[in-house]
């Protein structure tokens, strides 16, 4: 694998950005690979979790941000529990996703970030999650309009999903709360 590593200054800046968001210091990683060995979704990633940490240490921001790994991480925290250096890698993955979203460099083929956006849109509107609208909107946005449609009748019959969305009275409060968070974060 050939790639040129970033300058010292750039590397430090990237590590600082990560630390500012999640409080974790990636420089502590000494590449033992325990995180990758225990990761239940490593088989579906293009780079292993420990490789992502190494790329991040080297300031290879593009490689990190464009990898499928950060979107395939299921936040199960197995790596965080087992890291001998005490790095909460699940939190680092969160920070990388947050940075990618901020920079607007989310790979188009990734469905998880679409799910996140639609989910948050639902609670912004209703204060609580509306499952049916989440499923239909996600299916449309990801170009899989009929995905899971065969499960709908049984879910309705078993009362697992409702046609009418549940609402929290202060739905508006959540919208206001989200605006405030956005404002504070853009400062």
């Amino acid at each position: 694998m050939k790639c040129s590593i970033a300058s010292d200054k750039f590397r430090r800046k990237f590590a600082e950005q990560i630390e500012e968001i999640c409080g974790e210091r990636i420089s502590l990683c000494y590449q033992c690979g325990k995180c990758s060995a225990g990761c239940p979704v490593a088989y579906a990633m293009d780079y292993l979790p420990s490789q992502i940490t190494r790329f991040a240490q080297l300031g290879l921001i593009d490689k990190v941000m464009k990898s499928s790994t950060i979107w395939i991480c299921a936040s199960c925290q197995t790596c965080s529990v087992r890291c001998p250096r005490g790095i909460d890698l699940a939190k680092v993955m969160d920070a990388l996703r947050i940075l990618a979203k901020r920079k607007g460099i989310v790979p188009k083929e990734q469905i998880a970030p679409l799910f996140d956006g639609i989910f948050l849109g639902s609670i912004e509107k209703y204060g609580r999650l509306n499952e049916l609208s989440l499923i239909t909107k996600l299916n449309m946005a990801s170009g899989r309009p009929f995905k899971d449609v065969s499960l709908l009748p049984i879910m309705l019959k078993k009362g697992k999903i409702k046609l009418k969305p549940q609402k929290s009275n202060p739905g508006k409060e959540v919208r206001y709360l989200m605006r405030k968070v956005e404002k504070l974060e853009s400062k």
Binding site: I72, C76, G117, L120, L138, Q166, L184, E185
Partner: protein
Amino acid sequence: MMKVAYYPGCSLHSTAREYDISFQLVCRKLGIELQEIPHWVCCGSSPAHVTSHLLSIALPCKNLILAEEMGLDTVVAPCAACFNRLKIAKQEVAEDSKLKKEVQEVLGKPSAGKIEVKHPLQVIIEDVGLKKVEEMTRRKLQGLRVASYYGCLLVRPPSVINFDDPEDPQSMDNLVSALGGEALPWAFKTECCGASFSLSETDIVFELSGEILNEALEAGAECILVACPLCQSNLDLRQKGIEKRRGKKFNLPILYFTELLGLALGMSMRQLGLSRHIVNPSKLLERKLAVT
């Protein structure tokens, strides 16, 4: 009577109604009064913590403040994801004064700090006690072979959750044993089910949940016991799809621990909402426990 604030979370009002129903019934029987937090909002779950750190803390804090305003000192959250997010928010705000200030600015109120966050398992084991539960048992589980599945968010990260073991938890197994069931040792207690990828990356759920079902069956389980609505949904709702992919029948009912506890305390399957499951547990329970 113990009185606690109740945060059901979105799932217990939709896909996991039977968890809500059975938990409430069990609490009534055990002398725990649940008071649902008025106007609670979603905790933000995974979509919040992968999008904005501040949002992922502010949303749970809003609910913690609402719970504190009820004048109660404990809030109970049955969904492992909600439980996890409420615990994390409480701890991070307590440890980070800058974050605390930001949350306060967002919510317009000082963030909650005193209220304790508990999972129902903790309440039953630590506050009620297995001895009392055992004494109240009306119907022994008669050697029902149960694989207790804890998943990720109920036990991790241990520094925040501070309950049970993160790699080999025992609380549900101890409950099963106290009720007269056979708690099976198995290796997949805390393996991930695929969690919130249920809708977005369903193939991952098929793979991960498939392995869990397979391991449970190999260990001799007749059913899997869970304490999280997302784990339940992935193992139950997706089980048919998994069977098709693997070309193997599992037919493993996925029960909430509150349902099994309710049955042991003398309640009926109908009362507990057991007909809401996709993999029908009634044949197994009729045969093993003679319940209706």
